[in-house]
């Protein structure tokens, strides 16, 4: 079971209390009436689905109920850090240890996939 640090409860809680809520740091356009359909589609539907470090919104649904942001690795499922909603993206390089252990995923150990 994953433990996720809630920046509002200031405590690690079980993943069972949390819900993922999509990508973080997506600014809502201020000129929505002037946008083309393609621009709106890009804002509304298109997401990067990155492999590796990603920034997501999470909600402590069965806890304090607050939305917050998390930097998470989609390969290892590791939460690098969590921070309150509204704060800018944190500098991950200062948070990650210099020598990071290799995550034993299938891609890393068995296959040729890159």
């Amino acid at each position: 079971m994953l433990l996720i640090y809630c920046p509002y409860c200031e405590e690690e809680r079980s993943e069972l209390e949390f819900r993922q809520a999509g990508d973080a740091h997506i600014a809502r356009p201020t000129n929505m009436t002037e946008m083309t359909d393609e621009e709106f589609e890009a804002f509304f539907f298109l997401r990067d689905n990155v492999k590796g470090l990603t920034y997501e919104r999470w909600r402590h649904l069965n806890g304090c109920g607050r939305f917050f942001n998390a930097a998470r690795d989609t390969v290892s499922d590791k939460f690098v850090t969590t921070y309150k909603a509204g704060l800018p993206k944190p500098d991950i390089s200062t948070l990650r240890p210099a020598t990071e252990a290799i995550v034993e995923t299938y891609e890393a150990t068995e296959s040729d996939a890159k």
């Binding site: 079971m1 809680r13 806890g63």
Partner: protein
């Protein structure tokens, strides 16, 4: 019309009326009916609301304030659950505060199970992932969390006693799950 006088009109049946269960290690009982308030307010209204309720609303996570059968539980940075076991009119009490807030009477939405005994922690941990050891969850600690598939609000009222608040429609599920876990807690 005269026939109606004295006839059995609709009567309110509390959820879990007369419920008792559990084991020697953790006994379960239905809490007495109480009035409850879901209270939301910004930080600048906290002191006036505290004065109106006669309790200082907690502002740190997982803490509560209790006195004279009334409890104020921190649920979120701007959200509290207020419980009055004496049935006092909480809505009127907070309305007299004169500050901006949102108060919803949820007296009949919630019900509560009292879990008591040396196995109370184990019984609740049968469906709840929180660390309930005394060091992390001391007397007076409270938290909204999950019990199996249901959302609950936990309040530790004594070292061996917990109040488990749940929505009334989840009461059969919550009491049933706690009953099973309480039997396991004895072993």
């Amino acid at each position: 019309m005269a026939d109606l006088i004295g006839a059995d009109l609709a009567t309110r049946t509390p959820p879990l009326a007369g419920f008792h269960g559990g084991s020697g290690a953790a006994s379960l009982s239905a809490a007495t009916p109480a009035t409850r308030l879901s209270l939301r307010a910004k930080p600048d209204a906290v002191s006036a609301l505290s004065l109106a309720l006669g309790l200082s609303l907690p502002t740190r996570s997982k803490t509560s304030a209790s006195g004279h059968g009334r409890h104020a539980l921190w649920l979120g940075p701007d959200e509290w659950l207020v419980i009055d076991e004496n049935g006092a009119d909480l809505t009127t009490a907070v309305a007299s505060s004169g500050v901006l807030h949102s108060a919803t009477d949820i007296s009949h939405r919630n019900t509560a199970v009292i879990v008591k005994g040396r196995g109370a922690e184990v019984a609740i941990n049968g469906g709840c992932p929180q660390d309930l050891s005394l060091a992390v969850f001391p007397v007076g600690a409270c938290s909204r969390t999950v019990l199996g598939k249901a959302e609950i609000v936990l309040l530790r009222t004594a070292e061996d006693t917990f109040r488990v608040e749940c929505w009334r429609s989840f009461a059969p599920y919550v009491s049933g799950l706690l009953n099973e876990a309480a039997e396991d807690a004895g072993n």
